[in-house]
Symmetry: C2
Subunit: 358 residues, 2 copies
């Protein structure tokens, strides 16, 4: 099926930032995609328009009741000039899982993918090609009905905006120090933790600021019920290599099902290393650290791909992991996944989707 997507090109292309000054999510491309929803018409009016401000009633539900979800993925420029997306269908599947949890109507995943390809094609000059750079893509849905009753909105906007982002590891992949949070929780079973929705991120800002003041770059989140089971690290899923096996928290309802997580699990298994998804306590990780069984720890997510954990601080007890250095498995996963993403390595899993250039 072909979809009707209207395209209005900007008369004023913006100047592109230098590839060493990109940062993350600061600069936006020349265009954006918009799709409207109303109860009467369903999703309608698919269009690519010049990037610019949107106008909403101050009573729009997104401002008051947080009915909003988002996704994050990337487009990569290969050495031979092709453009690839990494597992975009997965993002639109997850988008609809998030939608369901937030009482937002389903978005047609095929339309979304076609719109995304069209938008990337229009703004293809924005995909940076310096090593480690990429085009970050942010699809999101916001509730736009102007009404203060607490109930699902009658109107929504699905949008895609894009931002060229710099190399996460400008000076090589680098382990981070992580603060294990004992007071605040990000999400709890029965809540919205498995949805990619705004409120989950708002809930973490306080703890993140406090950790940052203490010199820690991210939070390790524990579960909200026992304050013992490990959930995520910052906005990443987390893995532990213990005695030659890899362990990661099982998806339990309060953890986001990361697409990088899923890819890492497949890669690791393909190398003959067992991966066990199960509940993991912080006590157990500290014990494994003390006995020397804990070999590596790392977070995984679209932004950083991998973020090795060099040190944990839990209730003032510090645990150094792998001598504070990047582990072998972390390095291999990083090289392999980024190689597949930017096209320097073959793609045996069929993860990449090429964007045809007009």
């Amino acid at each position: 099926m072909a979809y009707q997507i209207d395209i209005t090109l900007t008369p004023h292309k913006k100047e592109k930032p230098a590839s060493d000054k990109l940062g993350f999510g600061i600069h936006y491309t020349d265009h954006m995609f918009i799709l409207d929803y109303s109860v009467d018409k369903g999703w309608h009016d698919a269009r690519i328009v010049p990037y610019g401000p949107i106008t909403l009633d101050p009573a729009a539900k997104v401002f008051h009741y947080g009915q909003t979800i988002f996704e994050g993925l990337k487009a990569y420029r290969t050495a031979d000039g092709r453009i690839q997306l990494f597992r975009p269908q997965k993002n639109f599947q997850r988008l609809n899982l998030s939608n369901a949890r937030l009482s937002i109507p389903d978005v047609d995943g095929e339309l979304a993918l076609e719109a995304l390809k069209a938008l990337v094609r229009v703004d293809q000059d924005w995909i940076p090609d310096a090593p480690g750079t990429s085009l970050y893509i942010r699809p999101f849905v916001i509730a736009t009905q102007a009404a203060l009753g607490v109930a699902p909105s009658t109107h929504y906007k699905f949008m895609i905006i894009m931002s060229p982002v710099g190399a996460y590891y400008a000076e090589g992949i680098n382990p981070v120090k992580i603060f294990v949070e004992s007071d605040h929780v990000r999400a709890v079973k029965g809540g919205v933790g498995e949805a990619k929705t705004a409120g989950n991120y708002a809930a973490g800002l306080n703890a993140q600021e406090a950790a940052s003041k203490k010199g820690y770059s991210q939070i390790l989140w524990l579960d909200g019920v026992h304050r013992s089971y490990i959930e995520e690290v910052g906005s990443m899923n987390v893995f532990f290599k213990i005695n030659g096996e890899v362990h990661t928290p099982a998806l339990n309802g309060s953890i986001l099902a990361g697409i990088t997580r899923d890819s890492m699990i497949q890669l690791i298994k393909s190398w003959g290393i067992p991966v066990i998804e199960r509940p993991i306590t912080i006590e157990e990780i500290y014990e494994a650290g003390r006995t020397g069984a804990l070999e590596e720890a790392f977070g995984t997510g679209t932004a950083a791909v991998i973020s090795p954990v060099g040190e944990l601080n839990w209730r003032d007890e510090r645990l150094t992991i792998n001598g504070g250095k990047t582990g072998e498995l972390s390095s291999k996963l990083y090289e392999t996944l980024t190689g597949i993403q930017n096209g320097t390595l073959p793609d045996p899993f069929g993860w990449t989707v090429e964007v045809p250039q007009a």
Copy 2:
């Protein structure tokens, strides 16, 4: 201290809706208040302007990371033509507690109150005077910085919008049927439940829709840890009259500290009835229901003042409370509090704040 608040009046006053067609949060008055924040300038540019859409970058943090909080209070028109607010200082205190939890900078509560009074004065013709009607006031803060990094915003807007609202009980105060939710949770200790922030409301939409399909008008929320302790009912605090005493869940970090709740506690105590704030389990309420010790149950909040609970459904077991009728205490609380609010009864607690009319 006097604050500089610029006022731009609208050239086109809207037509006002009929007092029996008001609904809740559907119509907005002619003006709104805006205050901007930037890291450089702090809060600045206090102004009253014609009510109208606001323009935001699609990357504004409120859309992605839910950094937003709000308040809700009312202005009442008394029989002798005065205008009163109900405990507005409390709302701005709570606004700043919410701000702190969401890493949003403090708003000057005195400026906020002065701005609110000025706005109510400008739009005073919008305060309906039919019995049970009032002007609902919605102060809120949204994060406006266009940046996709997960971190507190550098820019915010504090706004106040207002909406004339109809009588909650057009045909007399009426008990509701409540579904006790066993799967979803609204908030958990360590999360943002005690803040009035958007994400808490988004988290409840699914359960509310499901309950509504089963014929229940609201959810009774249980705690996220034990799934046993009673937290709130819909967007209200909850009270139980048991053996002549009144019990309400203690504020534990995941419950919003309702201003109506606080007022009810003071009223009930002033009548010589003991009020006990403590953890209360749903098991205990059912047990008290079976033995006949449970005399009344009711929710309290700004919108409805009181909402008597006529029936609970927990795991398919129905509990009828007070024969499904409004209890004596509920009626007396409703009459007393609405009487104080709309000026037909004296205000021994000094709760009302008059808005001087120009």
